[in-house]
């Protein structure tokens, strides 16, 4: 349970509170005089508040929060150095030499959003008394490796072996990141040119943001790329921009090659091609075959072709020609493989959050630790109150005690279907 405003006010250093109040006022472009008038005090007295020389009461805090259009709790929440992603990102953005121009402000907002979502995840863990262990077994060193491509391939092979994935496609990469490495993966709208980013804070562990506006196969590719960063520099931040806009550092090279080898293992891809050639009586795979193969491994057609180039199945010049082929889209359509973005608003909202997060939220709700208003305002932003039942039903089964004392477990959605059937 969060402490009340009064106790938070007492715990916070005067200087820190003064700084936050001033930042909140200036960000709303308000004059000291305006704020002083709202508190019905003189301007010099208000200046003393902003200098940390005069403490404010809870009532004054509410007045100022109202004037600054902010949550009073945000103004007095205790410093969260352990959960701050923004400082490290600022340093990274400078050192990564990214050409993001006008999108920088939007990126700042997105970084704060990732931080906020990860803090809420942490809050749920704390509410339920669950421990989150950021689980990176090995940190692979890049120093001394000249052939980054071969090294990334080796690490990808080792990781696949460790995770017992063999050469098979990875059907649920987001869940794998969450369950195996305990990275918090969120998907929401990022600036157009940003595919995703990885951040780390001691109290939060590793966190990944993926651009929900990109096609799913691209999001998976980005997640695989970020996995490469997690394995080499789990305590650093990385921002991935769209191809060709970033300086190719050893870290980026490693992550790029790792992503390709991790999602498209050499053995698996070779076997697909050989099987296909055999099926076609020695003929090379058609575009339809290649589209289906790319889909089987949940990667984009382009990523699959680049892997074929990498494995010397295809001349590099063919990639551009094949991608632009009209038949690709048609083939995808014919095979029913066009990437589907959830159209149901509830599903779209749910897709933004990790599975474990949603399970924890429903558990906290069922244990009366979270109220419906908090779900729609904080934890699953944008959800309607009337949709909560549906979300809870997805993650629980109702325990129903019969009159004879026996307990049956009922799937709520199933129950509704049965009802509709009866009524119709």
């Amino acid at each position: 349970m969060k402490p009340n405003l009064d106790s938070l006010l007492n715990q916070l250093e005067s200087e820190e509170l003064a700084h936050r109040l001033m930042t909140a006022r200036t960000s709303r472009k308000l004059l000291q005089q305006t704020a002083a008038e709202r508190l019905q005090i003189s301007r010099p007295t208000f200046i003393n508040i902003e200098k940390g020389l005069r403490r404010i009461s809870a009532r004054e805090l509410l007045l100022l929060a109202d004037l600054y259009q902010t949550d009073p709790y945000d103004l007095v929440a205790l410093p969260l150095e352990d959960t701050d992603l923004t400082v490290q990102f600022r340093r990274t953005l400078e050192s990564q030499d990214l050409i993001i121009g006008e999108e920088k402000d939007e990126l700042d907002v997105a970084i704060k959003q990732l931080q906020q979502m990860a803090i809420l995840y942490l809050e749920l863990e704390q509410l339920l008394g669950r421990k989150h262990i950021f689980n990176i077994n090995t940190q692979f060193q890049l120093n001394g490796h000249r052939d980054m491509k071969a090294y990334a391939a080796l690490v990808a092979r080792q990781e696949r072996q460790r995770l017992q994935l063999g050469d098979e496609p990875i059907p649920h990469l987001f869940s794998l990141l969450e369950e195996e490495y305990r990275v918090r993966v969120f998907r929401f709208a990022l600036p157009r040119g940003i595919s995703g980013f990885y951040g780390y804070a001691r109290g939060l562990g590793g966190c990944i943001a993926l651009n929900e506006n990109h096609p799913l196969d691209r999001q998976l590719q980005t997640a695989a790329h970020e996995t490469g960063h997690v394995l080499t520099s789990a305590q650093n931040t990385q921002v991935q921009v769209l191809n060709g806009r970033v300086r190719s550092s050893p870290e980026e090279q490693f992550a790029g090659y790792f992503g390709m080898n991790f999602t498209l293992p050499e053995g698996g891809v070779r076997r697909l091609i050989y099987d296909c050639v055999e099926r076609n009586n020695g003929e090379a795979p058609s575009i339809t075959d290649l589209v289906a193969m790319a889909h089987q491994y949940s990667v984009s057609f382009e990523a699959f072709l680049r892997r074929l180039v990498d494995l010397d199945f295809l001349p590099s010049g063919d990639v551009k020609r094949l991608i632009s082929h009209k038949v690709v889209k048609k083939t995808k359509g014919d095979l029913g493989l066009l990437t589907s973005v959830p159209t149901d608003p509830v599903e779209k909202i749910l897709a933004r959050y990790p599975e474990r997060y949603k399970q924890y939220l429903v558990e906290a709700y069922e244990k009366a630790l979270v109220e419906p208003q908090e779900i729609v305002a904080k934890y699953l932003v944008g959800l309607e109150l009337t949709d909560i039942s549906r979300v809870v039903a997805q993650y629980t089964r109702i325990q129903h005690m019969r009159d004879d004392g026996s307990v049956v477990s009922i799937n709520f959605e199933g129950y509704q279907e049965r009802l509709n059937w009866k009524f119709n």
Binding site: M1, K2, N4, L5, D6, S57, A58, R59, L62, L63, D66, P72, Y73, Y365, E366, K367, A368, L369, V370, E371, P372, Q373, E374, A377, E384, L385, T386, D387, I388, S389, R390, V392, A393, I398, Q399, H400, M401, R402, D403, F412, Q416, R418, L419, K422
Partner: protein, 179 residues
């Protein structure tokens, strides 16, 4: 006169009770709600049951049986600070409104229920299911009517495991299908 201050889900649950307008008139029930609650109930929806809830809601407002009343947290900062942020601003303001009108908070959130009890043992707080059960009994509703009424809300209302009327709700909900 009974004064009720329901949160959005509790209000919607109560509004599905067919005899509510009559009951409100006969029992002199007055509903006080926050503007935020009204906004939540009025959110556009394609679900027929919610559209019906909205229709009844607007009718009751027109008849003056539902009063939309804003609460300014600044008018009771000490009380507000005791409630917020351990619960949402809407729930905190609902409690302040109940104190102001000496009415009963109606909520099915067991978290709000527990926090409100911690805040004041004198505060009257009740669940929408308890009210509905009471009303069904007073109106001598048949089992079938009760089941039908509860099933209307099933798409948006499901009491959590520790809700005191969960067992009653489930038993009533399943009564017909188990026969």
């Amino acid at each position: 006169m009974m004064k009720l201050i329901p949160d959005p889900l509790a209000l919607m649950n109560l509004l599905t009770f067919g005899s509510l307008p009559t009951l409100i008139r006969d029992k002199e029930i007055e509903l006080f709600i926050l503007p935020e609650t009204a906004m939540a109930v009025r959110r556009p929806s394609e679900q027929a049951v919610i559209c019906e809830v909205q229709r009844v809601f607007e009718e009751l407002i027109t008849q003056g049986r539902v009063r939309i009343q804003a609460v300014v947290a600044l008018d009771a900062p000490d009380q507000y600070c005791q409630l917020y942020p351990s619960m949402s601003s809407l729930s905190a303001c609902s409690i302040l409104l109940a104190e102001q009108y000496q009415g009963s908070v109606v909520t099915d959130s067991m978290k709000v229920f527990a926090k409100a009890r911690e805040y004041s043992s004198e505060l009257s707080i009740i669940t929408s299911l308890e009210l509905l059960k009471q009303w069904f009994e007073e109106e001598h509703c048949s089992d079938e009517e009760i089941t039908a009424s509860l099933r209307r809300t099933v798409s948006f209302f499901q009491p959590i495991g520790c809700h005191p009327f969960k067992h009653w709700w489930l038993t009533r909900l399943f009564v017909e299908s188990e026969r």
